[in-house]
């Protein structure tokens, strides 16, 4: 690739050897001006994956040949002048998204042999925009986890310190983008699975409003919470990817019919008079003091730019973890009943009857955390417990949602830390589900209320990145992206590269 004869032009804005340092927005410019080709870009990132991913385990599947073919098609499109901002840009999909003809495992033994017969809507739209898929990223099994340690394919390592977790469940997507193995990646967020890994790896992660992106072809975990979004280096890049993914879809009746605004244009909109609510709930005893200090400093950046800070209190937010661990397992136990060893997925050898066959198939196909969630779901939905747990959780969910709605009468955004601490060590919490669950304490509220939320890098604690979380009212993605973009212009935390992944 470094062949001198291919480097004839004087004014390459982007050095071929360091293409991975550029953002999607910068690469889109270079592609459009034909300063680089998608084939060069794709080969460059494939070489990085081959060289660097053994230590990270960010990818479950690398689709090399298909990627090169897509890159050539993208170059033809760009040459004809009909590309989009994503045409020719190498991306990766979390392995929860169905991809036609490509293994879609959801991080589980249950789907280890599943070749999807169709594309998820989000995948189809990015494909249509001309993005080049390099592969499918590792994740917690069925997106159930906060550390990427529940994957059938082994844990993902955080590029900032390979002894720590990258967060989860979109841990492979986060590690891949942070290590510059790919320009951007899709993720899904049910209780924090985009924002928490974004915080742990120094990325921008956005979970849009519930229903903003179609769930068609996304393996279902908790249908009233699941939402697709992106992990990118910058808010500007998030705007570009989300633009392609968002919008109503007749194949998902819960996708929102509302028109999709121009997110990139929204980045420049005035926002100086915003009022930002700062809930005391987000600054509790569990928050690392150094993390808290960095979040306070980030808030003062907004203040300096003209925003007004307002102390608020969300009365029922402390119950968001218990609500989540009723609602999500209940929906999961129902959704995962489809894995029966008959139509697709793992099938056990069994000489017994149907019940024994189902039990053995599912016992072998699911890992320990997934089993715990299914059993929890079965418990809270079972006769005699339904009212006390499931119905009660739905009522408290309503109260939490009302708390947010009331807060948004006075404030435009809510801000706080994304996580209580920076990335924790591999193996540190995996034996204690409750400690693992409590790690999501700041991120669970937004999905319960269906609200869009974003994490942007706001500093380093002991050489590990931490994130600032912004939560907005329904359909306020423009505001979130604009605020993050403005913050990223004032700070350089999002430009930091994990040592060892610079070259």
């Amino acid at each position: 690739m470094d062949n001198e004869s291919t480097r004839g032009h004087e004014a390459r804005v982007i050095d071929l050897a360091s293409m991975h340092e550029a953002t999607i927005a910068q690469l889109a410019q270079a592609l459009k001006q034909r300063k680089i080709s998608s084939k060069e870009l794709t080969e460059h990132f494939l070489e990085r994956i081959a060289r660097l991913d053994d230590d990270l385990n960010a990818f479950i599947t690398v689709t090399r040949d298909a990627a090169l073919a897509q890159a050539e098609a993208a170059d033809a499109r760009l040459a004809a002048g009909d590309g989009t901002a994503l045409t020719g840009i190498p991306i990766a999909h979390k392995d929860i998204f169905c991809t036609e003809g490509v293994k879609t495992s959801c991080g589980s033994r249950m789907l280890d042999n599943f070749i999807s017969p169709y594309d998820a809507t989000a995948v189809a739209r990015l494909k249509q925009a001309g993005a080049v898929m390099l592969g499918k990223t590792n994740m917690d099994e069925f997106a159930m986890g906060s550390s990427n340690e529940t994957s059938f394919y082994g844990p993902v390592h955080n590029p900032w310190d390979r002894e720590t977790v990258p967060g989860g469940s979109s841990g492979g997507s986060a590690a891949a983008v942070a290590a510059r193995l790919v320009c951007g990646a899709t993720g899904t967020d049910t209780g924090g699975s985009i924002r928490q890994p974004a915080a742990f790896t120094g990325l921008t992660g956005i979970k849009p409003t519930y229903g903003r992106v179609s769930r068609y072809g996304m393996v279902a975990f908790a249908s009233s919470l699941d939402q697709a979004g992106t992990l990118t280096r910058t808010a500007e890049d998030a705007a570009l990817m989300l633009q392609s993914m968002a919008g109503t879809d007749e194949r998902d009746s819960t996708s929102l019919p509302d028109p999709v605004p121009n997110f990139s244009k929204a980045l420049e909109e005035p926002w100086e008079n915003l009022t930002i609510g700062v809930p005391d709930n987000f600054f509790d005893d569990g928050l690392d003091p150094k993390n808290a200090q960095l979040v306070r400093e980030a808030l003062s950046v907004f203040e300096r730019l003209g925003a007004r800070l307002k102390d608020i209190h969300l009365e029922h937010l402390h119950l968001s973890v218990p609500v989540y661990y009723v609602v999500a397992p209940a929906e999961a136990s129902s959704n995962l009943s489809r894995f029966d060893g008959v139509r697709y997925g793992h099938r056990a050898e069994s000489s017994g009857g149907l019940t024994e066959f189902y039990m053995r198939t599912r016992g072998e196909g699911f890992g320990a955390e997934v089993k715990r969630r299914i059993l929890t779901g079965a418990y809270v939905l079972s006769a005699g417990y339904y009212d006390a747990y499931y119905l009660q959780a739905q009522k408290v969910r309503q109260l939490i949602s009302q708390d947010f709605a009331r807060a948004f009468e006075d404030v435009d955004l809510i801000a706080g830390p994304t996580t209580p601490t920076p990335a924790f060590g591999l193996g540190q919490k995996v034996g204690d589900p409750i400690q693992m669950y409590l790690n999501d304490i700041y991120t669970i509220g937004a999905p319960l209320a269906g609200l869009p939320a974003l994490s942007t890098p706001c500093g380093m604690v002991d050489d590990l990145p931490v994130g600032l979380q912004l939560v907005g009212p329904h359909l306020s993605e423009e505001r979130l992206l604009a605020a993050a973009h403005r913050f990223q212009r004032e700070t350089d935390w999002h430009t930091r590269v994990p040592p060892g992944y610079v070259d």
Partner: protein
């Protein structure tokens, strides 16, 4: 109220999920911790609160009742572990 091993065995049958005898004690202990966590909900005053089933409080969209999908069973059955004459095979159900 901690879950007994018998409780867990009953849940496993309800959920059609086998766990090994060696796993049973650990699963019972961890599920008991989870139930203790979610029991915090009992303290919340929810009198008169409408349960929230959908985050956006919107009605489902409707569309015309017409066939839009074509028959692709051969394609889909390529992922099936056992198929014979276009039928999915299951263990014998009727004696």
């Amino acid at each position: 109220m901690p879950l007994s091993q018998e409780d867990v065995e009953k849940l496993c049958l309800l959920a059609r999920l086998e766990i090994t005898p060696e796993e049973l004690a650990d699963v019972a202990a961890k599920l008991s911790d989870i139930v203790a966590l979610v029991n915090q909900l009992q303290a919340a005053d929810t009198a008169g609160v409408v349960p929230m089933a959908h985050p956006l409080d919107r009605a489902q969209g409707l569309r015309a009742d017409r066939v839009t999908e074509s028959d692709q069973h051969e394609r889909y059955q390529r992922n099936a572990p056992m198929v014979e004459r276009d039928l999915y095979l299951v263990p014998k159900v009727i004696e």
